[in-house]
Symmetry: C2
Subunit: 501 residues, 2 copies
Amino acid sequence: MPTNRKEKVMPLEIVLKRNDPAPLYQQIAEQIKRAIASGHLPAGAQLPTVRRLAAEVGVTRLTVQNAYAELQSSGWIESTVGRGTFVSAQASVQPRWSAASGAATPAAVIGDILQMGRGTGILSFASASPDPQLFPEAEFWAALESQRQRLSEAMSYGPAQGDTGLRIELAAHLAERGLSATPDDLLVVAGVSQGVMLAAQALAQPGDSILIEQPTYVGFLHQLRTLGLQPMAVPVDEEGLRLDVVEQMARAHRIRFFYTIPSFQNPTGYCMSHSHRLQLLELAERYGFYIIEDDLYGWLAYDAEPPLPIKALDAADRVIYISGFSKTLAPGVRLGVMAPPSALRDRLIGLRIAADLGSPLLLQWTLAAFLHRGEFRRHLRRVLPVYQERRDALLAALGQAMPPGVHWTRPRGGLCCWVTLPRPVSVGEIPRLALQQGWAVAPGSIFWTNTDGERNLRLCFGGLTVGQLRRGVEVIAEIVRQQLAFAPVTPASPVEWLPMV
Amino acid sequence: MPTNRKEKVMPLEIVLKRNDPAPLYQQIAEQIKRAIASGHLPAGAQLPTVRRLAAEVGVTRLTVQNAYAELQSSGWIESTVGRGTFVSAQASVQPRWSAASGAATPAAVIGDILQMGRGTGILSFASASPDPQLFPEAEFWAALESQRQRLSEAMSYGPAQGDTGLRIELAAHLAERGLSATPDDLLVVAGVSQGVMLAAQALAQPGDSILIEQPTYVGFLHQLRTLGLQPMAVPVDEEGLRLDVVEQMARAHRIRFFYTIPSFQNPTGYCMSHSHRLQLLELAERYGFYIIEDDLYGWLAYDAEPPLPIKALDAADRVIYISGFSKTLAPGVRLGVMAPPSALRDRLIGLRIAADLGSPLLLQWTLAAFLHRGEFRRHLRRVLPVYQERRDALLAALGQAMPPGVHWTRPRGGLCCWVTLPRPVSVGEIPRLALQQGWAVAPGSIFWTNTDGERNLRLCFGGLTVGQLRRGVEVIAEIVRQQLAFAPVTPASPVEWLPMV
């Protein structure tokens, strides 16, 4: 909504770098975004006309049109025919948490998280992503460049199961996690998300009951809603997974599968003990359910050797193992690997064909070359100490800044720390206030199927420096202190593991 | 199955090029494949041990192991512990048509088609793909290389709806097909297949009735089986789409959507007339069903301007338009575009998040740069005359070689020609015999939901030169002649448009 400032056209200072790899329209859009984010351009402020800005900056009108189109499409500005172009009301409060509105869908929240890290001066605890600054640009580019001579072949259809050369490399890669799989056992997937989706489709029909951890990965909560599956939640706490609840539910219901992130879980950072892994397998065999093991974080162990995946202990072929590169290398590779029981393999390939026919060969070959050259192993050795240091800095800062009664997990790996307040506060209020000060934090509520998450925050430490972590924790701790002082006490319901319907 | 030749280890002549971009293991695997395909290594022939071949060729044992793993994984060889490694029985008859076995699933057939074009000396009429030789390597690489400086950013998560910059380019791209969509209206998808899948998920529940063309794209038949949808088939013949059947079905059933490839259809090459498009829209509006318009081939018009998409005529917001680059540029880009009615947009983005979170930014930015520089338009101008010449050569060769009573379509665009025999022959027999002579042809049966396709073959002409097309048609015509002379006449059932259950 334009405010009363709407009639005044704001002066814009745009500086273009002609030798910048970013297109001109994007440079313009980015600078306008920054002006909005920094408050230079308030909500309702009118932007110059396309013609005028084009003349001022010395670019074509099409370039300015494209910049405005980008800004409009991402909600920063609004255009009204005959009236002009204005900074939109939402833009002034910057990227916003749909979750703060209460009625947010998981899809909207995921969209928020994906957007939160991008530009606009926001520092983000919200996305469990690796630090882009640590991405091994030269090594990855070299692997990509080695495909130059067979580019047109790389642009053809590949097998839906995944390129054989990549699967050979992935079999060796998984051997480092203690898994013995042949290339033929494996499927290449478009990231762990797709792998989990295909596995869920293969194992369950709409209306079927499945088990999840509580809290769990918000993206999976969205997927099971899409698939019409009935989740029953098993609490995960400092003691670990409540195996008694697993058994109780498996005895009472026909459970199709249990979705778990046993190693350095998102959002809690929790790691399932070896003995719990064995007991869970035993329950899966006894009650005939499958285990979907999401091992996206298992490589990131800071205090000891990475834990052995459940799949490595799976004598009875109950585990669909899925891992990928989004947390160790970069999310943009959009490639993961699935090691299913062999009886499920062909059905999963069929589902992959139905989904999208397969992943781009060019990226598959690039990743294969990157793995083949040992670059992944080298990269991992390089980033582990960095994330370890950040984890330590986060825990130290929490210890210094948080008011009494606040607790948090001490993750031995992964990228997530889970903060628990002594009592619930209004959903999304802390993230909303933090965002006003330039910090993005994921509200705990989005990782739960009930209201218990109103006592929680997820702090992801992978993308922030030690200094940023300290400053950010201070800001958040101050907000927490205020909220705890003023927020009304609304006791959460105790039915934490009842089926969500 | 090893034959009696199994004890004799075959000598292998492997020549490695150290400066070849292909890894050594791949060079070895390729040469062994060729030896099998050419008959030098027959079924059951024993291969040297890893140790011996490594010593002979002068590579590490790991390299030979990887080559054998690749060959084993793709079914060319079999290993038995303690006995050795043998050419597998299936490999000797080369890539095989699952469809020829009668019990083939669409997924298996699609796997066949994807594999058929790859290596092994087979010339393929089977895959409706563009000619990889025509891929604009230098121009595409330049677009990719322009992302080098922002590589780590290109490796982060992008918005699930698709990169804004790419959507800006796609809006301009679709304007050339007569569509007026803003970047905000569009979704980037991982190829048309994914777009169709998401649209079907958004519009229908398991058990719902939908309409398809008969024959239609085999991949969609697989998708609807995966989704549990009930297809009802509307015949497409030389007269066009049977609109009377559409209306009859829409009146009798609650139809959720009609999936159509109106422009240069796969597999027939048929093009829906402008007046039929208008009438179909009118039916969609009257009976409340949606139209999923697959416009993958619409750009490839040889005799006149490309037909206006149904979406361009869609005043009542009934059309989900989907197009992509797999037929015009290259399948390996794995990027397409969807223009849905705005009421469906957010639901489709949610489904995309559930499916795989989004497409790789690096490829999205590369395609955006490629489009922005006008390379797509230039490329299309360059390839259209080539495909036109091939289409003409195919039609001329069919006219010269086919026996009387055989008919075929005269496609005015696209990559497919549909051959109809005067009477049915045994499913898959012609493709099987053609494959023995080194030619891949798709059996018509895979594009039908009933047995009528036993009179049909699909000939795709995009990937073959004029000389190859002539030779291939001669081979196939001779097989057709023999089959028609000997094959028993099994009359097809006349229930061609009854619901398939």
